[in-house]
């Protein structure tokens, strides 16, 4: 079993710390997505795991063995690069065979021309050839084996890069934004294929992406990274439904979550100068924020907490998104509605929005999640 532990990894470039003590335990066979905006340090972390860069502090443990000081070639990891990094002068078959040749053949056996006459070389070459064919058939690229990378399309190159990674049996696969150079349609298709490949191989995948949709759809756990830290690492639905941090809530989900300013006074939660709920076991504080996913909102009558004017709407066929300008809020509120509500969402129409306080996510001043006990919804409202 090849579990992988990341233990307090710090990386500094001069004065700036790009990784501020990352710890993560990855069990064998997991598909972990490292997701975050560009510059959050996710690629650096992957390269440190790979051994292409060294950490300033902390440790990486693969299969119970610390790999500090072990170079990339000896860590038994495979990597798929963003640019695919295929050797342009080698055929597809040779590209896929490189990791096997490098590891299992001696320097003399690999010599051009003379190498193949060395003892054992012919047999080794046959084995390698068989393994290359096996990997190629897994990815359905047998017909391309004789071509050069220059003659392939982007999607085909991507498959060859995958083939080169899976031709041997590594402790883990590292994938660095492997889909970012593909067009949108191909990206969706390949997404599914990689997820399926993961299920079939049962191997550990560590997948770096800035695209939260890729992370949500493929991984068993998502590690959301920001400013050199992992904010939360959980299963996709948990990250979506139960975010620990306002930044996670804002990063995951499209359209973005609605954030409303609120205050807590004497246990009473006020939004836009209206008391909407009574909370206990939370200290009073002014600058708390209320997160509402677009699907948590529903259309209601004029006398609602949120009342505003429809400023823009997008009909996607199966659902409708409307942006509503609410007086007193700096940002528009986004609502997801059923297409049947289309008529009520005409541009300029005044609409009221309602929600269950149970669907709202509460965050304190510093952005950490608050988990209060809600005593009575709309208590103040009803009393008044």
């Amino acid at each position: 079993m090849a579990d992988l532990h990341i233990d307090g990894v710090v990386k500094s470039f001069g004065e700036t710390q790009v990784l501020k003590g990352i710890s993560l335990d990855i069990r064998h066979g997991e598909f972990i997505a490292l997701v975050g905006p560009s510059g959050c340090g996710k690629s650096t972390l992957l390269r440190i795991i790979a051994g292409l860069e060294s950490q300033s502090a902390g440790d990486i443990v693969i299969a119970g063995r610390s790999v500090a000081g072990v170079r990339a070639a000896d860590r038994n990891l495979s990597m798929v690069f963003q640019s695919y990094a295929l050797y342009p002068h080698l055929s597809v078959a040779d590209n896929i065979a490189v990791p096997l040749r490098m590891r299992t053949m001696g320097a003399v056996q690999r010599l051009p021309l003379v190498g193949r006459w060395m003892p054992g070389a012919a047999e080794r070459n046959r084995e390698i050839d068989a393994e290359v064919r096996k990997a190629a058939s897994t990815l359905e690229i047998e017909t391309l084996l004789d071509r050069k990378p220059g003659q392939l399309s982007g999607g085909q190159r991507q498959r060859v890069a995958l083939g080169r990674a899976l031709v041997r049996d590594p402790a883990a696969f590292l994938l660095d934004e492997p889909l970012s150079n593909l067009d949108a349609k191909l990206r969706v298709q390949t997404r599914g294929e990689i997820a399926e490949l993961h299920r079939r191989l049962g191997a550990t995948f560590i997948y770096v992406t800035h695209d939260q949709v890729e992370a949500m759809t493929m991984s068993s756990r998502i590690a959301v990274m920001m400013e050199g830290q992992i904010l939360q690492c959980d299963a996709p639905d948990l990250v979506y439904e139960d975010p620990e941090d306002i930044r996670v809530a804002e990063f995951i989900g499209s359209p973005k979550i609605n954030i409303l300013p609120a205050e807590l006074n004497g246990g009473s939660l006020r939004v836009l100068d209206r008391d909407i709920a009574r909370l206990t076991r939370v200290a009073d504080q002014p600058g708390i924020r209320l997160g509402l996913r677009p699907e948590a909102l529903r259309l209601s009558g004029a006398d609602s907490v949120l009342t505003g004017v429809v400023a823009h709407h997008e009909n996607l066929g199966s659902e409708v998104f409307a942006q509503i300008e609410v007086p007193g809020l700096s940002e528009r509120v986004v609502l997801r509605a059923d297409p049947s509500a289309r008529r009520r969402l005409g541009l300029g129409a005044t609409v009221g929005l309602d929600f269950d306080i149970g669907d709202a996510l509460l965050f304190d001043t510093s952005g950490k999640r608050l988990r209060p006990v809600i005593e009575a919804a709309r208590a103040a409202h009803q009393v008044a």
Binding site: R71, M79, P88, V98, M102
Partner: protein, 324 residues
């Protein structure tokens, strides 16, 4: 005129085409004329004259058939010429290309002073070769030259014991270099390498910057542990097109060596004609001795070599298909 013949259907299109044709020819005419007069004409002239005994000042000439070529391939002077030329080319090309590549690799791999090294190594490329040849002649002066003076400092040290050349030199004087038939052509080769490798280095540096960095990481992940393995797997193949070009241009330049030899030995091209290269032969026979027939024959053979090399280069370049 053409205008009247234009069908009514597309008058505008036709007239645009006609005017493009006219301007096209008009704009290229000077270049075509000059190419014909200055490049193609002389090639034909050389070809024709190589079958004659023409000399400047004579009113006519006789056809002598292949006599000039026969001389070229039988007489010992010309044997020396071919030997000297090929010795020079075969020495200078691999060494200046190898040193250029080596310097480029070293320079990209060190962190500091890159630009300084690059500037210094490129200086000889910019300098007037004739002036630098004269400077080298002084450096190699048997008694007051810097080279022998520097070597002399090794006399009386351990070097004398481990290096026979040193022991001999301290005993009976150091080489005359330019005056010594054994050394003459090698000195010329040395100056050629000294002058040319910086040019190759710069081309290789340009080639190296275009190698994708992720390829090195991929090679590392694929198990290429040593620098040599990464060079074999990534760098050398990526520099293929650069190498083809660098080798060809070094060859063509090496074939044209003249300045150094004229500067060192204005009269005889080295002791016992040991550095009698083709360009010097063309100059001496054709211009100084007015033996135009034989000079033209050397010119034709020379052109043959150069064109052959360039055609090989083009063929190699077109064979390669890489993606960027």
């Amino acid at each position: 005129m053409a205008v009247t013949e234009i069908p009514v259907a597309a008058p505008a299109a036709r007239s645009v085409e006609a005017s493009q044709r006219r301007t096209g020819w008009f704009l290229t005419a000077p270049a075509i004329t000059l190419m014909g007069l200055i490049l193609l004409g002389p090639v034909l002239v050389a070809l024709v004259l190589s079958f004659t005994d023409y000399a400047l000042g004579n009113s006519g000439f006789n056809w002598v058939g292949l006599e000039n070529y026969e001389k070229l391939f039988t007489r010992s002077t010309y044997e020396k010429m071919f030997v000297a030329t090929f010795t020079y080319v075969v020495t200078v090309v691999p060494l200046s290309v190898g040193l250029g590549l080596g310097a480029a690799l070293l320079i990209t791999s060190v962190g500091r002073f890159r630009d300084l090294y690059k500037t210094i190594y490129f200086l000889p490329v910019m300098a007037t070769l004739l002036a630098m040849a004269i400077a080298w002649e002084f450096m190699l002066h048997p008694t007051i030259g810097m080279v022998n003076r520097t070597i002399e400092m090794g006399c009386g040290t351990f070097l004398e014991a481990i290096w026979p050349f040193m022991a001999q030199g301290c005993e009976g004087g150091f080489p005359l270099w330019l005056g010594d038939q054994r050394y003459a052509i090698w000195v010329v080769c040395f100056v050629g390498i000294w002058q040319g490798f910086g040019f190759n280095m710069v081309l290789y540096l340009a080639g190296l910057t275009s190698v994708h960095r992720e390829l090195y990481h991929a090679a590392e992940m694929d198990g290429a542990r040593s620098a040599w393995e990464r060079f074999r797997l990534v760098t050398w193949p990526a520099l293929g097109p650069t190498t083809v070009f660098v080798v060809t241009i070094s060859c063509i330049r090496a074939f044209q060596v003249f300045d150094t030899i004229e500067a060192f030995w204005p009269q005889g091209a080295g002791p016992n004609k040991s550095a009698y290269v083709m360009m010097f032969a063309i100059f001496e026979k054709g211009v100084q001795q007015n033996l135009i027939g034989i000079g033209s024959a050397i010119t034709v053979v020379f052109l043959g070599f150069v064109m052959f090399l360039t055609l090989i280069q083009r063929w190699l370049v077109e064979r390669k298909v890489h993606y960027g």
